[in-house]
Symmetry: C2
Subunit: 330 residues, 2 copies
């Protein structure tokens, strides 16, 4: 692997000059520039980022911590992050923290060791303290990590409200909400609050079933079957689209018709769902905007670590109509 010095020799200039050419810095004659460029071409030269970062320049790497990317929602999220960061000249180290505290901790250490410029965190296994100690710009997606770490999220409260309104408009009276187990302090809890508000404003009640986020689809399926059979449910709000898909399936297996017998609405609205399951009504999170905002904030913090940012940034959601929430005329 050719190094800067080799270029310098070949071009018959000093290393400094080569560095200047590479970084387009200081004053240089066209002639030297050309000599250097030619030499770089000839040796197929690539500056060593490591050495560059060591010498004070930033690494231009962002650590991205999510539970995983096999889930289409996180997949789209991470893909969007990666694409947008690439355009801004950054690369990402991907960290699938799963549901593993130890792993997340190890990742944090590793990211520090690798001198990343900042972190985008969409996972949530760790205690507040550990994030506080990182001493690196962090932006969090939809999770409370610690004071002073800004949270970007979609408008969970409004999302919950809209979901309730859709179900009510579809004529549902006997409503169930199926959500992941409550994370203390998590903004996603607001979906429940918003949902509840609307339902109760309409003098109705609703049942709440919590299913652990990390339960296997089989387990989830079972719980859903319970929900579907024990009640005369006619409307269901799932806090993510995959659970909604499962409900759709189980209903079919039980011979319940959607939307005739039960109306269904999910949450997230990934392009995957919109493209491959357009029948599913859902609340769409504005993934692109979320990502853009997270990156803007992160880069701000990177530029000026002491810059003042809000604790919460909330982006609007949108209802996506779908066959599963169609009103059945009586």
């Amino acid at each position: 692997m050719a190094k800067l010095e080799d270029i310098a020799k070949l071009a018959e200039v000093s290393p400094t000059t080569v560095s200047r050419v590479i970084n387009n810095y200081g004053s240089l004659s066209e002639k030297t520039k050309n000599k250097v460029f030619t030499a770089m071409k000839e040796l197929n030269y690539q500056p060593n980022s490591l050495a560059r970062s060591l010498k004070g320049k930033s690494s231009k790497i962002i650590g991205v911590i999510f539970p995983g990317v096999s889930n289409p929602f996180f997949g789209q999220m991470v893909e969007t992050i990666e694409n947008q960061l690439f355009d801004r000249g950054y690369k990402i180290i991907l960290c699938n923290a799963g549901k593993n505290k130890e792993k997340e901790r190890a990742y944090l250490r590793m990211l520090i060791a690798n001198q990343v410029d900042g972190i985008i965190a969409g996972s949530h296994n760790l205690e507040i303290e550990e994030y506080q100690q990182v001493g690196l710009p962090i932006i969090s997606f939809d999770r409370y990590l610690s004071e002073n770490i800004p949270i970007v999220s979609s408008d969970n409260f409004q999302g919950g409200k809209i979901a309730a309104e859709v179900l009510l408009a579809s004529g549902s009276k006997n409503i169930q909400m199926i959500s992941g187990a409550n994370q203390p302090n998590s903004p996603t809890n607001r979906r429940l609050v918003g949902f509840k508000e609307v339902i109760e404003d309409n003098n109705l009640k609703f049942g709440l079933t919590e299913i652990k986020y990390n339960a296997s689809p089989n387990i989830k399926g079972m719980k859903i079957k319970e929900v579907l059979s024990n009640n005369s449910v006619d409307g269901i709000f799932c806090t993510d689209d995959l659970t909604s898909l499962l409900v759709f399936q189980q209903a079919h297996q039980l011979g319940l018709r959607i939307p005739e017998d039960i109306r269904l609405i999910g949450y997230d609205g990934t392009s995957f769902i919109q493209e491959f399951h357009p029948e599913l009504a859902t609340i769409e999170q504005p993934i692109n905007d979320i990502v853009t905002l997270m990156i803007d904030l992160l880069l701000q913090r990177i530029k000026d670590p002491d810059c003042n940012l809000q604790q919460n940034y909330v982006l609007p959601v949108k209802a996506i109509a779908g066959e599963t929430s169609r009103r059945i005329s009586e």
Copy 2:
């Protein structure tokens, strides 16, 4: 950020000694070890990977190039890669090359600049030469990149055969295959070859519809509708499960029943499909094994760049039964 020297001072030893403790190298007295450990704890010390890599140690970073991770197949692939590499002490830089030649080229350069130890490539936009010049250990998934770059893939030929057999066993006679546009030299073409062989051995013919991998679901949907309406098709093999999903939908919209009117089988068999669409018959690629093998080979090459590896490694596939390929008794 505390550095090695700070530890040395605090522990009242030389930097060398600290380095020895960190790397568990050379001979050390218990006493010094303890002093150093204590100091490290106290300053919450993290060795700087960059500096370490600069000084000859490998970076322990692998570049992972795929089209994207919002597609569940690639998502699962990348997640598995990341998990397995983490266990082996490596981290990954994720590169979503999309369908963009320029981007893939830029990634290659960037990975070199970042001194990655090796590359796992699952994308396929570039010309052979560019990969040949990288001068880094590379393993490819399911794509021919260049001589001397090992390809790991599932048994595409056998997969095609099995798919054909399943459709035949289900009683289909008027069969269509829907595949991505043919990549020259790509191992995935063997799915077609295997499929064709079985169909023709049974004195049948089949129609082939090629749909560009990167077509939007809407475009794909249209083409599929054509396929479904222009023929009296009664059996379809899609070379990926998402297309298969689309066929399933379109068939419903056209009032065609699956499996009564048409039998359907896909390809890939991600856990996503198996869990959320168990009705879809498919050919499962052994993602875990593929990843394990790719990583084994890559680490071998990293250890010994000249080690002899085969050009092709083929792993067996498995048919996953599903309602969509059930035989209808007459």
